[in-house]
Amino acid sequence: MKKTLVEMFDSIFPLLAISGFYIISLFTAILIGRFDLALLDILIASVILPTIYWYGR
């Protein structure tokens, strides 16, 4: 179990780090009431993250 988690960390951490930037931006945008920017964040992340994941497999 521990070994699997460590292997998962090794393979997906950089993608998670990039996702973290989108996620913190999204939370901030929602909390300050800028839903236009939140939507922009979701749109860009929904294109970029799957693309990176797909080509990086």
């Binding site: 960390f9 950089p14 780090a17 990039i18 989108y22 945008a29 970029i48 080509y55």
Partner: protein
């Protein structure tokens, strides 16, 4: 059978590299022209942020947590040698590029330099550069070092496109309408378009530099010394390219 070694292969100017450079030029041009044609509202100072700065401190803590995790990941995946070459160099690079800016929110817990730049932003640069260094390598092992740099820079722009306008709207930092003495007319939700282009330059040059260093045959000590001593030159190169771009944009009226 003709064979090329890794160094020759890495430095060869491949077709995919040329395509990536063209994509970068088209993307940046579209960004500049698109933002010139479609005005986006800048946040007014009255709507800046919340009354408290809890998100600012969350951002700071997460920056250092992510940096620690990146170092642990690098130690596990690349080993001690690559980690020693990458992170001190990247931290110094981020520090040199952030120190001249005086427009940071002064409520941050950890500040450095004469203008109170946020140290968490420097940590953020390390995380972004490391993640993109890893991802660009994983996406295509056959891509040249220049290609990896260009690809990383392009992904960098997409990270900053939502991040910077949101940070500006919250009040993490603000943007002056003047850059290197030239007025900046084209903005994206208040963020000058040159900032996104600078993200491309900053990330691309660093990933290329680290890529060449990684493939070089120097000893660890020499690689470490180069990784530190070349950083001021790299930072100056970014500033010179950025200045040239601002000047060209000023001449073109964008």
């Amino acid at each position: 059978m003709h064979r090329v070694n890794r160094e020759q292969y890495a430095s060869r100017f491949q077709g995919s590299t040329i395509i990536l450079i063209l994509i970068a030029i088209i993307t940046i041009s579209m960004l500049v022209v698109g933002l010139k044609l479609i005005p986006t509202p800048a946040p007014s100072s009255e709507t800046f942020g919340l009354d408290n700065w809890i998100l600012l401190h969350v951002f700071e803590v997460l920056g250092f947590v992510a940096l620690s995790m990146s170092i642990v990941h690098s130690l596990r995946v690349y080993g001690k040698e690559q980690t020693i070459i990458f992170f001190p160099s990247c931290f110094l690079y981020g520090l040199l590029l952030e120190l001249p800016f005086s427009s940071y929110n002064q409520n941050a817990w950890i500040k450095v330099g004469p203008y109170g730049s946020m140290l968490a932003v420097v940590a953020g640069w390390c995380v972004v550069n490391y993640a993109l260094f890893f991802i660009s390598k994983k996406i295509s092992c056959s891509l040249s070092i220049i290609g990896r740099g260009v690809l990383s820079g392009l992904i960098g722009i997409t990270i900053d496109l939502p991040l910077d306008p949101i940070a500006f709207a919250y009040g993490l930092w603000y943007w002056e309408p003047i850059f290197f003495g030239y007025p900046i007319a084209t903005t994206f939700y208040g963020v000058p378009v040159i900032n996104f282009i600078n993200w491309f330059y900053t990330i691309s040059l660093f990933i290329m530099f680290q890529g060449y260093l990684e493939r070089s045959v120097y000893t660890l000590k020499t690689k470490f010394l180069i990784s530190i001593l070349a950083i001021p030159l790299l930072a100056v190169a970014v500033l010179v390219i950025s200045y040239t771009t601002v000047y060209v944009m000023f001449l073109l009226g964008v």
